[in-house]
Symmetry: D2
Subunit: 346 residues, 4 copies
């Protein structure tokens, strides 16, 4: 069932974009060396180095669960802890994957402002305990864009990075929607990562037009020592790697990644604009990426569902999340907005 009313449920309900598909088709010619020793993987890695304007180490994992968990486990030991936001995906939606991959590293949740960690909230958690009976903080993980659709500015990341330096913490970025953050800010990928002090970025492709294959970029290359072995042991080394890397070539080579992210963001903005004056509807967070979070009454949400619209509800009663993706149709955004207006009027 390819129900268009599901278009706003999640950005991972979408398919593969034409550029990624075409690259896969090209890659699907004849035999290629396995395990990343192929030309497509080399090309994709080079595209990343060019895009980020630095000689980073590049790896590929099958999905975001693994990419983030492997990266975090490379940044700390089992008796260390990872500071994340209360709403961080690694904390709320990974079924304990970071703890599994790291063999027990504890996640410590810090308060956020509009879904974003701050130097103060990090400091509070990092300094709360200094004794051996509590896992020693060693990593901070940010999600860019955040799980509530907000975006860290370069100076916010820099401030956090500075705090990390003071406290001896590594800085990891979960970039499942990194493209959307770049599109919103108009910043270069470098400005949002290594130039701001990020050690490792997990750059998500799945939510922006790929099937599988998140990229893990180590700007701090010391931390990447033997990371290829880590990937292999953890079941994240693809034999036919070209099918993970070629789509990245497709996405990166002509800026498709940016066009799609911009499109998704614009759709989200459109939706927000269209409903902002609807009585009884309020935006829960500023719309900075591709998600719109609306506070609406339970009956209104039920009515929307009854009309066939699909979306996730979360953060207490009355909230609904609408996600736009690379292939969201503007006409459907307008239909959804109209439906919201109608159920609120009803």
């Amino acid at each position: 069932m390819t129900d268009t009313s599901q278009q706003f449920a999640s950005d991972n309900y979408s398919g593969i974009c034409p550029e990624a598909w075409e690259a896969m088709a090209q890659a699907n010619q004849g035999h290629q060396r396995a395990y990343g020793d192929d030309e497509w993987t080399a090309r994709a890695a080079d595209h990343f180095r060019h895009l980020f304007d630095t000689d980073c180490d590049v790896f590929f994992a099958f999905n975001g669960t693994a990419a983030n968990s492997l990266a975090l486990s490379a940044l700390c030991q089992s008796y260390h802890s990872v500071i994340c936001s209360e709403t961080a995906h690694v904390e709320t939606d990974e079924c304990g994957a970071p703890e599994f991959f790291s063999n027990g590293s504890k996640l410590l949740t810090a308060h956020t402002e509009q879904g974003k960690l701050t130097p103060a909230s990090i400091r509070e958690i990092a300094l709360k305990r200094k004794d051996i009976h509590y896992p020693k903080p060693r990593v901070v993980t940010l999600t860019q864009a955040t799980e509530v659709g907000t975006v860290y500015r370069p100076e916010e990341i820099q401030a956090i990075s500075q705090t990390c330096d003071e406290l001896g913490l590594n800085l990891h970025m979960d970039g499942a929607r990194f493209s959307n953050a770049c599109a919103f800010l108009g910043c270069s990928p470098a400005e949002l990562t290594w130039k701001a002090g990020v050690d490792v970025l997990c750059f998500g492709g799945t939510k922006n037009g790929m099937a599988v294959g998140e990229a893990i970029l180590f700007f701090n290359r010391d931390l990447a020592e033997d990371f290829d072995y880590r990937c292999k042991q953890a079941g994240q080394l693809a034999s036919k790697m070209r099918y993970l890397s070629a789509p990245w070539v497709g996405l990166l080579q002509n800026d498709a990644w940016m066009r799609y992210a911009t499109h998704a963001n614009r759709c989200a903005q459109l939706l927000a604009d269209l409903v902002k004056d609807v009585p009884g509807v309020s935006l829960m967070f500023p719309v900075e990426a591709n998600g719109v979070f609306l506070q609406m009454s339970e009956p209104a949400l039920a009515a929307l569902t009854a009309r066939g619209w699909r979306f996730y509800t979360f953060i207490g009663a009355g909230g609904a999340r609408f996600m736009c993706s690379w292939d969201t149709e503007e006409a459907r955004v307008r239909e959804l907005a109209a439906a919201i207006r109608e159920v609120m009027a009803g």
Copy 2:
């Protein structure tokens, strides 16, 4: 580089077969629910249940490393051990993945005959130690077809299964090349698995025309309890699951899986036939699946390499492995055979 001389290096150097590709293309329409809650995944699971003629539990993992390691970790605890052959892929080529996923289960290697475990070799290892200072044997894992290209007969599997029952061991089958075994024996998949006492099969697709997406089939469904959580936590739950499952629909629905395996086996047989009378060349193992293992002199192997042919050498001096795959060209087999004849004559 799509060098045809690499065709015999590994069966995972090959690409995606047309049937799998076409199914992915069809699956790539519009939005679909994520995490396996889509129609393609349901269809693929049903195809497996039909093919195996039983109501088994079906899961998908990204690759064989993970599929086998997750299955094994579901069959034992960390203080248990897994009996495998000395040449088992899980022992020799997974960088400790089974130990990682299980948090420490030890692999105990047993002697083999032509790459195959026997009831006697299993019994020897299982009964060697009965004290608490040695991890308690809990699982036997077979590879079908084996790493040296031989195939377990149904009665061999039954005999092993009986031994497992006597000793309280679960029986796992690594079926990276299960298709090739079926093709060789002309047996039904059921006869080679649950009817012979296999608890869990990891059915490989990657080496038979897919990009990613090994299937894990639990015939003993009690052992599958909460296995979906295990996959998720271990980074093996694809969000866009349809791209792992649809190719299986393509492979299974018109017996493409069997045609391709038969083709690969036939190419291997052809190669063996063409070189068997070449002086100085000898077959190391009977050719029952898609691999040919030749004993040749080091200079001959070097000469072959110098002509551009690619292959792996293993098991002491002089051996070379040539793998055929779903797309191996018969003409190339003949060229390779001719080249072998020439270098041996040279």
Copy 3:
């Protein structure tokens, strides 16, 4: 330094009680079989079975960190979760040990009333999420007596156990101060454990007069399958086991465990009685076991410290914990009370 002013800092600052010491001395005769195959270990296990009036499985671990972590890991898999109180020792003071031993099981903290979980608070956490992206709740762990010095009544445990049954959860009890709970309630150990539905108890000896050697009692013996292997693999099988088990014989055989717990409780009660009318001092929790938690001003606490008294502060500003142990001297309790009265007057 054997500073008596440290007497109230922790109940693990105390030494070995005479009965435990004497039993160790007796055990220290000649050679004995290792790894628990000795007569003292058999005797200790029998004492437990007699004391609890049931044929439970008994194991010994070196400390509470390991005893609780091993027990929890036997009750769930890595992708399951453990419901505990916000103040549970396993959550706040074990440096991620439960996560380490279980290879990633997440602890989910529930609200408490006076340090105690309730059926409602457990239900809230257990039912919050039912999807695969969140670790499935599988265990509830209670601390008896709690970390804030309160004690679960048998009917409270029964109610929790009933909730566990409804929700498919195993029930574990961290009994680091189980003796103190028994002493306070005048209940039999059986009433507070298996008769109330507890599956596994970790019975602490260290805080009641032993050096090392917590006991793990499985009332639900199915859950103890191969637990001896688990202990061995995790570094918790003592070769000279008699030195862990003999002290238990000493503690249990003439009810020394109960006398000491009663003494410690009485000292705590005395302290509470002596300071309850001091202006500016208030009890934070009812004194039911061997701990007294006082709300006092920061300057008062500082003054107390300046006089050489040692104690831990926790739960926000102003709180101080004073622990009594098997060897606390009543005269010292009175001195401490007088000192508190003085600093508050000062």
Copy 4:
């Protein structure tokens, strides 16, 4: 049962020696700070630094299983491997503990000469595979004295250490019977460890007169970073640490450790001397520490057992291990020797 005929079964069947007992008795005065922050632990650590003539980092664990496993896990990551001898205790008798603590590091067994690794055997294993599909060798572990009662000379350790340096491997020593090696060689502890290139030593006390409490000495102090957290998380931090450390003070302060090891060695030598001319009995290994390994016929061993003597048999048919300990009585050695002579004559 304190059966003297068990005296030769294992050196961990023995009790606590007077010096260790007396130190425990002294330590058992009043209250002491917990978790190693006490005076006895400080004193013990200083004794080690003095004995080894270097400023090493000293930790204590409850037993050898944990001490060695924790040390190894500090020297490598889960995707690394540990090279050990075929007969290494960590490989054969720890129920997968090293794999558990390290979350999957594989042990690779190398050939030995009289139970000892050599530069050549290490090199063979370390260089066998250099690809990502095999866990990367990162540590060598030696047992000193070995499991078959032989002893590495300083120059042998130096040669191994040199090989380790060349290959990028850390060097760990399992010193469960380190005392016996020192006694045999007449070398200083320093000569056998850091001066010969050992990074970490696990110095065993249990087999030489203690109850619990193996010491872990990091000569390469960089490798000890946050090792205290590792011990805590893994359930190896004793709250009443003084009972682990005080016995070491007792053993070390007047060279009791050396006297006892010398005694045990001498008893073993005596046994070997007394039976060496018995027809049908042959020494399997040179007697260099406190164990004697005799090749005898099965019926002779059975006859010995029938007379009540206890010992372990291993390494194929006909072998028996007799261990001497700190409290072995010379008279009993003579009785055993006479019994052996009799059963062989019988």
